[in-house]
Each structure stands twice: as C-alpha cells, then as structure tokens.
C-alpha cells in the first residue's frame, strides 16, 4: 500500500483511502454514474440529432430503409430488455432487503441471460440476415432497383441503423462484463443491506442502456409510414 498508514481513520475493506466515510463514497459513486450518463446522452444525442435531420431531409428513403427492418424482432428485443431491467431491479432490491446470495445471483444471471438473448436475436436474426440480403453498408451493400433515386439515402439510413444499434449493442456487452463482476462480488459475499452501492450504480447503467433502446426502436423500426396513413 503506497499510502502512509499514519492516518488513524477506521477504514473498512471497501472504503477507499480518499473518502472519509462510506456515505461519501456511495454518494460519489452515484453522482459519477449520473454524470457519466449525461455524457452518454450527449454521445448518443449527436447521433440522434444527425439521424433526425437526415430523416427530415430524406423522408421517402428513410421510410424504405425502415421497412427493411423486421418489427417482430425489434419488438421481441424491446420486451426482452424491459424484462432484463426488471430482473436487474429485483437483484438490487434483494441485496437491499438482505435476501440470500443465491437470490441476488439468480436475478443477476437472469439479467445476463436476457441481455444475451437480446444480442443473440440482433446478431442471428437481424444483422446476419441483413448481411445475406446485402444491405449492410460497407459489406457488399447492393442498391435495389425498387429504390430508384433514393438508393444512396437508403444506404445512409442503414449506416445510421447499424451504427446506432451497434453502439447500443457495445454498451450491452460492457454491461454484461459489469454483471459478471457483480456475480463474482456477490458470490464472495461483498454485498449486504449496508453496502450494495456497486449493484445500484451498475443498475443505473443497465437501465440507461435499456432506455436508449426504448428510443431506438420506434425511431428506426416504427415511425415513417408503416402504420401511419399515407404509407403503403
């Protein structure tokens, strides 16, 4: 330990040296995650803004692009993700109310399972299928004659679709990594009703990733004529 030990503060095993007490540490962690999520909102915000502007510039092409996506898979994944937010919240609640380690771990593993289902559906039924259909920009994207003059902008829609859902999926993968760590920490008995801040803070992140999808799903799959009048 590099820090000199002449400071006679009562430091528990989970209290880092720079903090005075556990409450300060927990508050710092929570504020840090909220601040990070603000950054994340701006990160996705730039993309959402660009998407919105191009959508308004090229409504017909973006409508065609939207129709290339399968609503049933998007809807399934929306349900899966909302379910995973529920299991995440239940994991936190279980730790908070002093439920057994097995209960917390079960909910965490369920959350991971649902996260994996989401990524699995995305990879197998959507992205891989798109690849076979030659509608992945940069990987053999073919203009279809039915698109006519809209073809370049249809490709642009797909660029945004893959970049936004890809960035979202990357966040899911990071979330799965965090959940793995949480499972290990829980198994080692690190959490109790007095100390469960890592679970709570990770929960914030997981819910945030969920919320991003809640916006992505209608923006990419639903709006733009499929169910509105004047469409097809």
């Amino acid at each position: 330990m590099a820090a000199p030990s002449h400071l006679d503060r009562a430091h528990g095993p989970e209290l880092a040296h720079q903090f005075e007490d556990p409450a300060q540490q927990r508050e710092a962690g929570t504020l840090a995650m909220w601040t990070f999520l603000v950054t994340e909102i701006m990160f996705f915000g730039g993309l959402f803004a660009a998407y919105a502007i191009y959508r308004s510039l090229h409504p017909a092409a973006f409508e065609i692009g939207s129709h290339l996506l399968e609503v049933k898979f998007g809807a399934t994944n929306t349900a899966v993700l909302i379910g995973s937010s529920l299991t995440m919240a239940l994991a936190i609640h279980s730790a908070q109310t002093g439920k057994s380690k097995a209960t917390v771990i079960t909910f965490l593993l369920l959350t991971m399972l649902l996260g994996l289902v989401f990524i699995g559906v995305k990879l197998r039924f959507e992205w891989y299928h798109d690849y076979l259909e030659h509608i992945v920009p940069g990987f053999g994207f073919d203009y279809r004659s039915a698109w006519g003059a809209n073809a370049p902008e249809v490709q642009m829609f797909m660029v945004f679709y893959f970049f936004m859902t890809g960035l979202h999926a990357l966040h899911m993968v990071v979330g799965l990594g965090i959940l793995t760590v949480l499972v290990i920490m829980t198994a080692r008995g690190r959490f109790s009703p007095r100390y469960y801040a890592p679970l709570e803070i990770s929960g914030l992140y997981w819910h945030f990733v969920d919320i991003i999808w809640i916006y992505l799903f209608p923006l990419l799959y639903l709006i733009g004529g499929r169910y509105s009048t004047g469409g097809h």
Partner: protein
Amino acid sequence: MSTAVVDVHQTPPGSGVNYLNATYGIKSWLLTTDHKRIALLYLASITFMFFVGGAAAVLMRIHLIEPQGTLVQPETYNKLFSTHGIVMVFFFLIPSIPAVLGNFLVPMMIGARDLAFPRLNLLSWYLYITGALFLLYAILNGGIDTGWTFYTPYSTTFAHTHVIAAVLGIFINGFSSILTGLNFIVTIHKMRAPGMTWFRMPLFLWAIYATSVIFILGTPVVAITLFLVGLERIFHVGIFDPAVGGDPLLFQHLFWFYSHPAVYIMILPGMGVVSELIPCFSKKKIFGYSFIAFSSMAIAVLSFLVWGHHMFVTGQSIYAGLVFSVLSFLVAIPSAIKVFNWTATLHKGSISYDAPMLYALGFIGLFTMGGLTGLFLASLATDVHLNGTYFIVAHFHYIMVGGAVMAYLGGIHFWWPKITGRLYPDGWARFAALVIFVGFNLTFFPQFMLGYLGMPRRYAVYPPEFQVLNVMSSAGASILGVGYLIPLIYLVWSMRYGPIAGPNPWGAKGLEWQTPSPPPTENFEEIPVVTEEPYNYPGTAAVTRG
C-alpha cells in the same frame, strides 16, 4: 510502514516524506494513483506535445518570410498548420491547465486527500498518451492536411493523408477529457472539507467546475462526429458526403457544437488561475467574488449557444446567423465582468511584480484584446470581410496563447514552489515573462493588420506587399520561441538546484499553502476545517465583499 512516519511539520523543509520521495522507481510513477504525481505525468507529456506543436509553428513562420515561401512545398505547409492546430488544441491547450494544475490543485484546494476516483484519473492519463501516440504515428508517417477542423467532404473523401489515425487519436483523447471532467465534478461536489462551502471555494475551482461541465457535455459530441468521419472514410459510406445525400454543414454544426465550447475549455481555467494570482500579488481580497464565480458558469452555458458564429459564411440561414451573432455578443458580458473585477482588485492594492503576476497582468491585456476583436467577428457584416483571414488567426491566438498559455505559465510559476518545493531564479523568470509578452505581440499584432488587409489564412504563399508584416510576425515568433525555452531550462534546473521554497513563499491564502512543500502523499496531516472566507488578504479591510 508506521515506523517510517515522519511528522512533516517538525522536520526541516525539503527533508520530510512527501509525494515525490515517498516511493521510488519508474513503476511507482507509471502506476501511481496520486493526483499530484498524475499532474506531473501530464506536465511532462503536454510539455512534449507543446514543443511538437511549436516546432510546426516555427517551420511555418520560417516558410512565410518570403512571399513565395522559403522552406516547404504547399502540401507540406498544409500538413504543418494541421499538425500545429491539432497538437496545440487537443493535446496541449485543452488538457493544459485542467490536467496539470487542476489535477494537482483541486483536491488540495478543497481539503481532500485525492480526487474521488484516483484510478480513473490514472486511466485518463493513459488515454491521453494512447491518443497522442495515434496522432504522433499519423504525423511521423506523412502527416495530416485537413486542418484541425477536419471539414468534410475533404477529410472524408479527398484527403490522402492519415486522417483515420488522427481522428482516432482525438477520439481516444476525448475520453481522457470526459473522465477528468467527471472526476473533478464529483470531487468538487462530494469531497469538500468541513466548512468549505461553495462560496468559500477559490475561484480557480469555479472555473475548473465550469470547464468540467463543458468537458462532459461537449466532448462526446465531437467524439461521435469524428468517429463518423472515420467510418465514412473506412467503409466509403455516405454520412456527410453530399453525393449521397449527406450534409457537410451538419458536420460543421456538430463539430463546432463542441469546438466552440472547447475555446472556453481553454480560457476558463486560465481565468481561474488569474483570479488566484491577482489577489495574492495585490495583497487584497478579490473584488466581486460571486460575480466572477457566476460569470464562469454563465460562460459555460453561453458557450453551447454560439457555435453558429463559425458558420456565418457557409450558407447557414441568415436568421440563424442573426441569433448566433446576438448570442455571441452576450459572451462579452461575463468576460468583461471578470476583467473589471480583476482590475478593481488591483485598485489600491499593494502590488508586487513577481513572475506569476507579470503573466497575470499580461493575460488581462492580451485576453481583453482577443475578446474585443472577437466582437468584430461576431458581427455578421464585418465577419464577411474578416472570415478566413489572418484577423481570425490573430484573434484566437490572443485568446489561446495570449490568454490561455500566459495563464498556464503564470499558474506554473505560482504553484511551482508547491509542486517541487523549490524556487526558480526570479530574475530569469521575470525576464522570460517579458520576452514572451514582447514576442507574442510582435508575432500576432501584425497578423491583425494582415487579416484586415485581406491576407487569407492557410496559404503557403502570399502577395509581396504583405512581406514586411510577415517578416515582423516571423521575427516575433522566434523571440516567442526563445521565451518559451527559457522557463523550460530554469524550471528543470530549479528542481535540483533551486532554493528551498518553504510551505508558502508568496504569503498566499488557500488550503494548498497550509501544507508542506512538496505536500505529503495524502496532502494534509488532518483534513482541515475551513472557517474563513477565501482571499482573506491583509488589504481586505478597506473593501467590503463585492
């Protein structure tokens, strides 16, 4: 370990256990989580980048001595100004005061042992280094010629240089900024010592806080934008390319949404430094504390509403231009509030002209010139004439070099005795400050005139009638270059041979001066309890709280 403990207050200065000699070896530095050591890691790395960017500037000024150019091909000249801009903006100015002085001072000024997240802080430095390596790779392998703004479609479609490595470097470095800003925000909110209320904080911290807000709100947007540029180049897909329905103006909007606030990332911490120096060397309480504090926050907010003034001549809607023009004028208000309060602090103070104070006074004058010339550019009509000329170059160098770099050097000279525990030779330091001031003005004042006469920026050649002013500018640049080398030499010298400074050589207020120099690893023996207002200098009695 406990037997090795020394009470630093009882030992002669310089011989106690402090953050510099607590542990030894390269590993103890590269794996340190001590905010003070990380500040020094940043100091070394940004100083290196400063001289990389400076070298590019020197080559440019040598080239421009003759109207037809003396040194390089036009293509190389493009790479020189691009390198200079990218290195100086992203790898020197943006991290300079926050990452070096902010890292060192934020915990000490609020009475904390470290930042809230020391390991995250170290990660920030590694991200900076990784980003810098990408950029250096791009420079050494042939360079980048897009300018620091990476305007599309040139950067995405036509440039045949190492754009991808450069934007990746900036992207990675962006996360360093974001994490540093996040760390500062949480630390300032949650780690203040008992009695350290928001309005007892040194104004430097208000400035750093405002800067951090810009870091976390702006940086992600430029990061994602440059990432899109990279994607467009790698996969040859249309995002900003007008040939496939893309909008190059959208790139400029997204770019300046960050890059205009980035100007305030550079200047706000400098304003914070000056707010510390002026009261200390006037031996007087700062005038109008709360006005200076809130003007920092006002600048941070306004900074996000003015980006369109970079796009007056791009075909942006004239109504948008009008609104952006008015909003840009508004920035002058909080900026002027600061200048008035600093000068009011000087009024009837007992002023001493130590080196840090010379930089602070230089800052006030040069920043004011930079700010006032900004009003020319915020006016739609004059901007049409001045846009794209050397007037712009002179204007932003008065802010970034005359302002930010002067403040950075002033801060380094002010806190150097605290950082190293040693004093530098005072005469040399004042001399260097003077050389830098003279060199700076000789370099950039002629550029105002060149710009007004119509010399466009970014050109490798110019009409012969502009030669006199260009030679003056180049002569100034060489003086400025020497001015920057002098502190490098005597500061390095002082680390080993400088006289012992003692805890508070300037008689300054603030918690960082109440601990030994250099400070112990955990900054304070006991967390201090703050009971007095900031800047409680002797000259306070005559002035009531602004």
